[in-house]
Subunit: 217 residues, 2 copies
């Protein structure tokens, strides 16, 4: 099992540490805010009040022995950048850091953060896409150019077989699942399967093929 | 085209309004912070400095005429709740609101928010899952119990046909795409296709089937 240290127990950091704990991993939490640390103390055994820009304090609680650090500091850019630098310096092999602006992200990349997350921005993009096409229930950007869209089956596609819809040839993306109105999920639909009113198609493909498909629903 | 009003131009609200604008929709932005409004003014024609808890001010700029409002206020719970209440009262048909805690979410639900988003928490859950299994590149909770996982093809599955792997029968989920090491994407893999070292399988299914699959990779 890997060991994780989460620095900054705000909304994002708090969610990461809680989920890692639920998945059965060894975790340690750090925050400079005493009230927050006390809130987590009942459920997370190793939680400390520490200023993460103080390298001696980090070494004292053994941060250098962890496999992976998550730096979840947002508002205070300097603390985020300095903490990421220190954690890489003292030898933590993998660091995930949260960024709040493009400038912040570029600095974190330069100083060696292995992965950068922008929770608010990414969710904003996803929500905006869901809002604009009323049929689109969910819109997800996967790695590089790869997308997934869940759409309500539009009236002109209802009652037709997947074979007849021929989505792959027409758009370049593919219907990979049908969620029926009653909630059941067909994760490997056959050519003769159909989508009816109230059903959802789950479609994947590259960005341009998904945009072409979205226009027609 | 639908018209959207975004109240609160923080990281999340700012990302929503920028993306809606890029997708060609009519948007209006509101924030009590003058500096922020000035930052958006060059790219978003209708941006106003308004306290969104002031119903007269909202009516004066015509918020009641919009199809959809996004209330993206996080830290100030009272402003978020009051604004959501007012916006529903003056007749906006659909309201999406951001919540920062479970308590906040429950109040928003009770007062009529149509959709509630928790950007930091949702991203935290997703990141924690990606961290715990080194093969898992991305982990997404879709609507209801439906999940998607992108995993690196583990050594014991490399070079075998999808037919031989028989993922559907063994786990109940389904390999719906193979991303090759060179970046090309096969969105409707055939039974004879194989995953090699460095390729990714994209797998969908319900939560329990995905957890079973994740254990084996
Ligand atoms: N130098 C530091 N040492 C330890 N903890 C810190 C330090 N600086 C900030 N923090 C903590 O990091 C946490 C998150 O930081 P902040 O509130 O700046 O980010 P945020 O992006 O608004 O968080 P979120 O959106 O996830 O709630 C806070 O609880 C804060 O106390
Ligand atoms: N009553 C109000 N009227 C108008 N704007 C408001 C009001 N209250 C807060 N805002 C604005 O909403 C924006 C976002 O609010 P806040 O910073 O509290 O949330 P947040 O969750 O930290 O944002 P994010 O994480 O998206 O950056 C801020 O720019 C703030 O000025």
């Amino acid at each position: 099992k890997k060991q994780f240290v989460v620095i900054g127990l705000g909304r994002f950091g708090g969610s990461v540490i809680k989920t890692l704990q639920e998945l059965g991993h060894d975790v340690m939490g750090i925050d400079q805010n005493e009230r927050l640390v006390q809130e987590y103390a009942p459920s997370i055994p190793h939680v400390y009040v520490v200023d993460s820009t103080d390298v001696h304090a980090l070494r004292q609680i053994g941060v250098q022995n962890f496999d992976h650090a998550i730096v979840a500091i947002g508002d205070d850019l300097q603390a985020s950048i300095l903490t990421t630098l220190i954690v890489k310096d003292i030898g933590v092999p993998f660091v995930t850091a949260k960024a709040t602006t493009d400038y912040h992200r570029r600095v974190l990349e330069r100083i060696g953060a292995d992965r950068i997350i922008m929770p608010e921005r990414d969710t904003g993009v996803r929500v905006a896409h869901q809002l604009t096409r009323s049929n689109v229930i969910d819109y997800l950007e996967l790695s590089q150019d790869f997308m997934l869209v869940e759409v309500l089956v539009p009236s002109h596609m209802q009652g037709k077989t997947l074979k007849a819809l021929n989505v792959r040839a027409k758009y370049g993306c593919n219907i990979v699942a049908i969620r029926k109105r009653d909630g059941t999920l067909n994760v490997s639909p056959l050519a003769e399967d159909k989508g009816e009113m109230g059903d959802l198609f789950v479609v994947i493909g590259n960005k341009s093929s998904i945009v072409r498909f979205e226009k027609d629903v």
